[in-house]
């Protein structure tokens, strides 16, 4: 797998803007853990095993607030619930007949917004049998880069000013935004994107913790069913 050309192409794809976008946020997360009293080994373990930034922040904030194991599990489950539809969506695209279940479950660890967007951007140009290795190269590099950046953020947080750290946090949502608008091609996608943003804002004060999931499911369902005819054409 690791010597295949598809794997190497996936790694090359990840190097550059995708790695910069995610890496900068992970750097800030490392700096945040340092200022919050965690150790460098904790920062390493958190990104190594979780690799989903919003949930990692929730974990750190919940523990600082005195939360229990169950509090943290449920809070992270809720925040990272977005990974569920993304995984259901991506796995059928990248697997082939030869992809074992074990490999699918292992590769799922590399699914994040950045790897999901970038894989969907190129998958139609790849042969079906190459897609899995390509994704492992792409997602695996992003994951490894994130682990390194978290540790670097922890180690060098004292050398970076607070204002630069705030600007660095802004890189990742802007990268997500640009990748999202690059999907403004089909009517159902445009509707899902616009409604998702609007509903998230409207629902924020009503269902604070659930607003993102409710907004996303409602927006995606409306976008899909309003333009169902477009799907069948």
């Amino acid at each position: 797998m690791f010597s295949s050309q598809a794997f190497k192409d996936g790694v090359k794809h990840a190097i550059g803007v995708p790695a910069l976008g995610l890496g900068s946020s992970m750097f800030v997360f490392g700096a945040y853990l340092h200022s919050s009293g965690f150790s460098i080994f904790h920062s390493f373990l958190s990104t190594f095993f979780t690799f989903a930034l919003p949930g990692q922040f929730v974990m750190a904030e919940t523990i600082l607030a005195g939360g229990t194991f169950l509090n943290i599990f449920l809070a992270v489950l809720l925040v990272n619930g977005r990974l569920y539809p993304m995984t259901v969506n991506l796995i059928p695209v990248i697997r082939s007949e030869n992809t074992s279940k074990l490999k699918q479950y292992l590769a799922a660890h590399f699914i994040a917004v950045t790897s999901w967007f970038n894989m969907f951007d190129v998958h139609h140009k790849l042969k079906q049998e190459d897609k899995f290795n390509y994704f492992v190269g792409l997602g695996g590099f992003l994951w490894a880069n994130s682990v390194v950046c978290t540790v670097l953020g922890y180690a060098f947080s004292n050398l970076v000013s607070h204002e630069i750290l705030i600007a660095m946090v802004f890189i990742n949502p802007m990268y997500f935004l640009i990748m999202t608008v690059s999907n403004l091609k089909e009517k159902k996608m445009i509707t899902s994107i616009i409604l998702g943003g609007i509903l998230s804002i409207v629902l924020h004060n009503i269902f604070s913790g659930w607003s993102v999931l409710i907004a996303g499911i409602s927006a995606g369902s409306l976008g899909y069913f309003i333009f169902k005819k477009e799907n069948n054409e």
Partner: protein
């Protein structure tokens, strides 16, 4: 904070996150890329991501909450303007926006 408590928290966060991914793999077992459900899930995924972005820009937590809403909205518009004005250059749009955000936060 005890060391043991932190390790338990990391385990809890990792399990909570991996559950979403593993359950996704399990649910996708018999799903075909040509099925209507697949298209619906793609719409839901992009809707959720759009909702996440709106929430980060307008109701951020952590470090971003130290900046003003006006700065965040302005820099979001800058990112979009540059992206569509410069042949959809992702790197230029993202970095210009973050650079402007840093400058605006310094002065305002």
């Amino acid at each position: 904070m005890s060391n043991q408590l932190i390790y338990l928290s990391i385990i809890a966060a990792s399990l909570g996150t991996y559950f979403c991914r593993a359950f996704g793999v399990f649910s996708a077992k018999k799903l075909s890329v040509d099925s209507p459900i697949f298209l619906w899930i793609k719409c839901v995924s992009i809707g959720v991501i759009s909702a996440v972005i709106a929430r980060i820009v307008l109701f951020p937590a952590g470090l971003l909450s130290e900046s003003t809403s006006l700065n965040r909205i302005l820099c979001t518009l800058i990112a979009l303007t540059i992206y569509f004005s410069f042949k959809k250059n992702v790197l230029l749009a993202v970095l210009s926006s973050a650079f402007c955000f840093g400058i605006l936060n310094h002065f305002f």
